[in-house]
Symmetry: C2
Subunit: 326 residues, 2 copies
């Protein structure tokens, strides 16, 4: 198969927006015309055993939590409020009932936290666990935050600590005992990711946000998605990226670095967004309890570059998650 | 794992309706409070390679069609009108792009026929093909047709020819050449099922329908679901069931019968519904081009029985599809 980006382009041609679909395929979620005052925002997100997770390595509770968290993060990225969820779960017929119960208990915990009602679903037997969660949210009419609104001169912000979840996964994979507070936080960020719904709502209320995407595939890939959709370029500064700080000895052991994890690892479910220069000046360093960091600016043209301590901008290709990259 | 019915009961306890969810887990689709005049009807339906289909046996176009048809049938069973679809597709990374294109071409054809807009989706790599399709539909406020409204004395109807799809599958499995018109129709019904949206809309307009479900799991299982939800029993008459008529020689070869296929095979996507005795008298034999046949009546108590040529009612347990039956 071709790359995910190419496949999505095929789908956009076959299924264009219009006829009630305000925003169709290609953003974090679709936007549908609701009644006079609000739009519906809908998303679907797959979680596949052996691809997104190893069942032996994570509890059923954690998987139920994460299956919903991924879709809630898509809703957050649109500046919308989640209302309802549907859950399709396929699992081997030999799966213990207890596992299924715990899966839904984990999902239920996150749903309650964000006042999301699980309204329905589907169950099927399958050779391995596959969960697909849809969330329906709402947003003021015409106010969904899209990937495609970034303009040259806008300032690029990232929330939280990109790479933290990737560090957690690397520790789990390498069986590094997570005794240090940083590693505990990292593993927790990976296993129980927190969708940034409160932050997204606060940003939507403040105004001045021109484009937004969630950091699910790694900053380098998600920044590329945002720029591609907006028809712009970007310049980010390596030293400004609030990447997870990994002690040098651990970087050597894990054969990675904090910056690399932030750019490539994904699953952070933080928000990457652009704001007008004026709004950027007024933006606090922390909003809804989450750290906000300016990391660069939107540029004319289509080049996406990163400026390191070496001074000269280097290309920043998408090195994050792509399901179908050959 | 326990049976599907038990799992669904667990989920109903964990995720009760209320708070905007008018009808939650346990019907063909969920009903959500919309604006003043209409409700939203939403459903999600999994299609798993090796469980619901063998990839080698069916074209990508047919699978794309069927993945959407299953969800549209759920919407039909609620008496609702489908508006939007989301599609999550997991497939091996080695899948040819052409296969994916054809999958979406088949889905697109059915979507256009029923004016459904495909608004978004998700793509992921997985060891085998898994498609999950959500459909959002709408219905007049409070007018969704549920499984739970059947009352003693109501007449039970089935649409079309239950067992036709099962005969098609049996022919495909046994490599029976489908040269006879009946077998051609049967294979077509299995490969390109027609959700009964036109019929459902016509029934909803006429009124008098007290409960409805789609025949996806086989008449015996779906009738059990409807009665369970309504807290009633039922008596059906074997000779009235408009089961597919299979020539005796083929029945022997396939080791099944038309009645058995109708009761147990599933995937017919016909409608099973109950109407008040008064409305039953006014119901034409054909509606929206689809044959309607009375097959029995709703009874007090919880027994579900079938009356055969033997005269005495025999229990009719659910013998259709259950993903998790041990």
């Amino acid at each position: 198969m071709r790359s995910e980006v190419e496949l999505i382009r095929l789908l956009q041609q076959r299924f264009p927006a219009g006829g009630g679909v305000r925003v169709g395929i290609g953003d974090d979620a679709a936007v549908l015309a609701g009644d006079g005052r609000r739009d519906w925002v809908v998303t679907t997100d797959l979680l596949v055993e052996g691809v997104h997770f190893l069942r032996a390595a994570q509890s059923a509770r954690a998987l139920g939590w994460k299956a919903l968290a991924r879709s809630l993060s898509d809703i957050a990225a649109m500046g919308a409020r989640p209302r309802y969820a549907l859950v399709a779960l396929a699992a081997p017929a030999s799966t213990p009932t207890e596992w299924v119960k715990n899966f839904f208990a984990g999902m239920g915990r996150l749903a309650r936290r964000h006042r999301v009602k699980v309204a329905g679903g589907d169950l099927a037997a399958a050779p391995q666990v596959v969960a697909d969660v849809q969330v329906l949210g709402e947003v003021k009419k015409g106010k969904a935050l899209l990937r495609r609104g970034a303009r040259p001169g806008d300032i690029i912000f990232a929330s939280g600590t990109p790479g933290l979840s990737g560090l957690g996964l690397a520790c789990l994979r390498a069986r590094v005992a997570s005794v240090r507070p940083l590693l505990k936080r990292a593993v927790r960020a990976h296993v129980f990711p927190q969708p940034r719904l409160g932050l997204a709502a606060a940003l939507a209320r403040r105004g001045g946000v021109t484009a937004m995407i969630d950091l699910s595939d790694g900053l380098s890939t998600d920044l590329n998605h945002l720029c591609e959709a907006s028809g712009v370029g970007a310049r980010v500064y390596a030293e400004m990226i609030p990447a997870v700080k990994v002690p040098p000895s651990l970087e050597r052991r894990l054969r990675t670095s904090g910056l690399k994890l932030a750019l490539e690892a994904g699953e952070d479910y933080e928000l990457l967004f652009t704001v007008t220069p004026k709004a950027a000046l007024r933006l606090p360093r922390q909003l809804a309890g989450i750290k906000l960091t300016p990391i660069g600016e939107i540029t004319r043209g289509r080049r996406i570059t990163i400026v390191g301590s070496f001074g000269r901008p280097l290309p920043l290709p998408p090195r994050g998650w792509d399901h179908f990259r050959r």
